[in-house]
Symmetry: C2
Subunit: 205 residues, 2 copies
DNA sequence: TTATTTACCGACCAAGTGGTCTGGTTAAAG
DNA sequence: CTTTAACCAGACCACTTGGTCGGTAAATAA
């Protein structure tokens, strides 16, 4: 096999297993040995490919976490349809996936955000970058909604984005362990009520 | 000094210092030695008063965290005034405190919830108990609002409670590090818009 | 006063932790 | 066919972790 391809494959395997365990047990509660045991690889292999545990984690964020965010929460709201519907459906799908996931430990980005908030500037930078992209994308979607006449032109797009992100971060934590299906259902109903309250007022002829 | 009083005093000192560090650095990233160093106490003292690190943490939750939740988020919404105003003001005050707190690491209960979600059944039980009390209290406040004619009688109290808790859990994570004041402002504005959308419709005479 | 209980000390331990280093294997390049 | 370097094994290291244990001094009870 091509040397470079092999390198990429091994690194990818490590990152996938790493994300799985970091997500499941948390970064500080997961040792490199834990990850290596899963793959039957050695310390030598690990430190040949990565400088440190932190460097390893940063690469996981940039590759896997960012990618997950794109496919789950960013791309789905980029269409030209009614922004409110896009957002509503996107959140619905993301939460439904979480409900059906046997082993749900919360929102990946949210969990890491929480674990490193105010504790690790380097890692927070990368996490915040992803969060920022999501935020910008939401703002764009909302402005498009205003332009297309689906959203009331008086609403503040930035405010809505902050509110949506907050509620999503929260519900993903709130859904773990305790009747996730019921909580998802309740959350989505109220989210739709909220979204309706910012939609463009129908002009009564 | 009375023996029992001294015992209580020492245990309380340990718990206060413990909560401070667990909140700041996270449970898994804080060692018992860290806490002991802060107080110039020894391992012997610690294990004389507590069975284990976990037992220590559980007592902190039951004593300090529960108490904090009561004074910050539960008692303030128990009055007989307009429930929507009570909730709005309560959230406003809580967030304002966070903004002005030089060292804000997020919502204490939320952080721990996130750290132990799906990872430690014992501790989660105690955290969920507190969360449940908050939820029940919010539901009660909303039902009172409906009864008093401040909230639309058609809204589902449980749904609103879930939505409010979610948004609060989220904004507290989202506020750490990045322009907390601006995010608080944006969140509160949209929260008020949402709350307005569930208030009782004025009867136009 | 004396006996006993309580609060606390700090050395110690086994089990990890992230990270280094030496050396061996394998596949591509010259 | 030799050289070279990427890839990986695993022993090893210094350090930290939660937790134990024998001891001591002071307060309480006899």
């Amino acid at each position: 096999m091509d040397k470079n391809l092999k390198r990429m494959a091994t690194m990818h395997r490590m990152q996938v297993a790493g994300l799985e365990l970091f997500y499941k047990d948390g970064y500080h509660n997961t040792s490199i040995d834990d990850i290596l045991k899963e793959l039957s690889l050695s310390k030598g292999a690990f430190y040949h490919h990565f400088d440190s545990k932190e460097d390893f984690f940063v690469q996981i964020i940039q590759n896997l976490v960012a990618h997950k965010m794109y496919t789950m929460l960013i791309e789905p709201i980029e269409g030209n349809a009614n922004s409110l519907d896009l957002i509503s459906n996107c959140f619905e799908d993301a939460l439904e996936t979480a409900v059906h996931n046997e082993l749900d430990y919360g929102f990946v980005l949210g969990n890491f955000l929480n674990e490193f908030n105010g504790r690790n500037k380097v890692i927070m930078k990368y996490l915040n970058d992803i969060l920022k992209i999501w935020e910008v994308n939401l703002v764009t979607a909302i402005q498009r909604g205003k332009f297309n006449g689906h959203i009331d032109r008086h609403v503040d797009s930035e405010e809505v984005a902050v509110f949506l992100i907050s509620s999503y971060l929260g519900i993903r934590t709130f859904m773990v362990e305790n009747s996730p299906g019921a909580r998802k259902y309740r959350y989505m109903n109220q989210l739709r009520i909220y979204l309706k309250s910012i939609q463009a007022k129908k002009i009564i002829a």
